[in-house]
């Protein structure tokens, strides 16, 4: 480049500092991860969380490492709304509206523990596709209605979809 024109140190810093800072941030982030820190971590903590997020490869790894997808596990607040949910993997996939995940979980040994509850959850999140995947399409809705202030998902989980 032609370098005859006068440039001040301030302008050099102004132009160079933002990209250097950006690359340093990325490098620092990677270094922190290498050292075991997990800044801004959003990794699924269990197979239910992975199912709710649609993290298929992670869900398969949990199952391969011995995690039973049929056991209800806590899904942390922020994954499926603000409240924590304790559900098995298939119900988590329903709540996360992950149709492909439901099929994958069934291929991997997950079963529908409580058909009415799963149907109730599918109705509660308005996810009728799940019902056809689970082979229960066309059956009457089982959404539990216990008042306007009630959380329909919590009602399904509490009452198992039974009115």
């Amino acid at each position: 480049m032609v370098g005859s024109e006068r440039v001040t140190a301030a302008t050099i810093a102004l132009v160079a500092a933002p990209p250097i800072l950006a690359f340093a941030l990325v490098a620092g982030f990677l270094a922190a991860e290498t050292l075991g820190f997990r800044p801004l971590d959003a990794e699924p903590a269990n197979v239910s969380e992975a199912s709710a997020m649609g993290a298929a490869a992670a869900a398969l790894r949990f199952i391969a490492n011995g995690s039973d997808p049929n056991i209800p596990r806590v899904i942390a607040p922020g994954v499926l709304g603000n409240a924590p949910r304790t559900v098995n993997a298939i119900d988590a996939a329903i709540l996360g509206r992950q149709p492909e995940m439901i099929q994958l979980l069934r291929q991997s040994g997950a079963t529908v523990a409580d058909l009415r509850r799963s149907q109730c959850l599918a109705d509660a999140v308005q996810f009728p596709e799940a019902l056809s995947i689970l082979g229960i399409a066309g059956t009457p809705s089982a959404v539990v209605s216990t008042g306007e202030a009630d959380d329909p998902i919590e009602a399904c989980l509490r009452d198992g979809g039974r009115n």
Binding site: M1, V7, T11, V26, L60
Partner: protein, 481 residues
């Protein structure tokens, strides 16, 4: 005795620092790229189709009529495939990372940094490449070799050859580079445009004789492809593409423009200019405009369009202040790079007229960055003038451009991490994907081995990089929707 050596070292120091910075940024990309498994679509099928074939069979099968002429594209994939010895992911992803490193180093060499100001501009230029919407797919995708990246490397290498002191080796390399690029994908023809434009701009590394040879090779390409092989150009409606405020399917494009293709060609040409200069439209669709109309503007859209538009304004300002002094064959070093961009912009846009794809414009994109680097250096000189409105404006422009592109470069890294997860999940859903394919069959032990290796790599062997939760990054990073 030591003084000349010391002065040479002092002169080389900015270059060494610049190469170090380029290598460092390439290393960041290498980490991100090596975490991404080989893609299921485009890549897996490509590897399957090469099982049991020799290199010459692969290359010869591509030398045929039709809308595309890319014999070395698959040839290069076959070479890396054979070298990998079945260890596909590290080889192909490593090759991708190596290409990024080569691009960054050649690009820095093309800028020829000599001063501290040059170094500042180089760091900004690296952020621009890392954050450009025209390079997103170059980093995000591989087929399993990203041939668009290969052509950008060829383009920058051509300028490096033109900048050299010349000689028969340089001449031979220039012609071979052109032949390689042309036989890789169609936009490789741009290497010829670069060789000629560089000579007209005053670079003398490549001799007239080599230019004549390159021109003969260029003409030979057309004679071979359209004369001997009776090839065609891609027809309208072979791929989906954007149009005004919508993304049109291939069928819709045929219905809309089947009888008036020139309307689409003209639209796509103008779109290509807009995409390169203003990041709007994207792949033919006016996305920011659409978001404005539906009141759904996302921060990344504003960031992308604002930084691109402001950088374009900077280049226009530079060209306007310099163009009166431009004479054929007598441009100074900086002006030559800007002139190359002005030539490459329309030339590259021509390759985008049948269907719009941002990454096709990556050759124009790399010269956009070079021109912006030159213009930024000029702006830095303006900022050294006595205090006043002119200086304040220069400072503000520098700050906004530098911060904007830096933020975009972080966004690319964030999206690469996302791609690493998405690609793994694609593999986890392999059965569903396979059901939708008409032509994918795993009917031999070799093909089964390829599938098993890639599946295991994606799902079991190499865990994905930790997902991160950041509303800020999500909002400001270009998802290339």
């Amino acid at each position: 005795m030591n003084e000349p050596t010391a002065s040479i070292d002092a002169a080389r120091r900015p270059q060494l620092i610049a190469y170090g910075a380029a290598t460092g940024v390439a290393a960041l990309f290498a980490v991100a790229l090596l975490r991404i498994p080989i893609q299921l679509s485009d890549s897996f099928t490509e590897l399957l189709s090469m099982q049991g074939q020799t290199l010459s069979t692969v290359v010869r099968s591509e030398i045929a009529g039709g809308p595309y002429f890319r014999p070395l594209r698959r040839g290069l994939i076959k070479v890396v495939l054979d070298l990998s010895g079945g260890d596909f992911s590290p080889w192909f992803r490593g090759f991708h990372a190596l290409e990024v490193l080569i691009l960054f180093v050649l690009f820095v060499r093309m800028l020829r940094p000599r001063t501290s100001a040059d170094l500042a501009v180089v760091s900004l230029a690296l952020a621009m490449i890392a954050g450009s919407h025209l390079f997103l797919d170059i980093f995000r995708e591989a087929f399993p070799i990203n041939h668009f990246l290969t052509i950008v490397i060829c383009a920058v290498a051509a300028v490096n050859l033109a900048q050299s002191r010349g000689g028969w080796l340089v001449d031979a390399a220039a012609v071979l580079l052109l032949v390689f690029a042309m036989a890789t994908i169609e936009s490789g023809l741009l290497v010829w445009v670069i060789l000629v434009a560089a000579w007209l701009a005053g670079y003398r590394g490549i001799s007239r004789g080599a230019l004549v040879a390159a021109t003969l090779a260029f003409a030979g390409y057309f004679a071979l492809r359209f004369g001997f092989l009776r090839g065609t150009i891609p027809a309208i409606g072979e791929r989906d593409t954007g149009y005004l405020l919508t993304e049109a399917t291939a069928g819709e494009m045929r219905r809309l423009f089947g009888n008036s293709p020139w309307v689409l060609y003209a639209y796509n040409l103008v779109s290509a200019f807009g995409c390169t200069l203003f990041a709007e439209p994207r792949s033919g669709t006016f996305m920011l405009t659409r978001s404005l109309l539906t009141d759904e503007v996302r921060p990344w859209q504003v960031l992308t369009v604002a930084t691109s538009a402001l950088t374009t304004a900077l280049i226009i300002w530079y060209a306007a202040t310099r163009i009166r002094s431009w004479r054929p064959f007598r441009l100074n070093e900086d002006d030559r790079l800007v002139a190359l961009f002005l030539v490459l912009l329309p030339a590259n846009a021509v390759f985008d007229i049948v269907y719009e794809k941002d990454v096709v414009l990556s050759v124009a994109g790399i010269f956009f960055v070079a021109a912006a680097a030159v213009a930024m250096k000029r702006l830095m000189a303006v900022a050294a003038t006595p205090p006043g409105a002119r200086r304040a404006f220069a400072y503000a422009a520098m700050l906004v451009i530098a911060c904007g592109w830096s933020l975009r470069s972080i966004g690319t890294q964030y999206r690469l991490r996302e791609v690493a997860s998405i690609t793994r999940d694609d593999w986890a859903y392999y059965d569903r994907w396979a059901q939708r394919q008409d032509s994918v069959t795993i009917d031999t032990p070799e093909k089964k081995r390829v599938w098993q290796t890639l599946y295991d790599d994606a799902v079991w062997r190499r865990p994905r990089p930790p997902a991160i939760d950041s509303r800020l990054l999500e909002a400001w990073s270009d998802p290339k929707e």
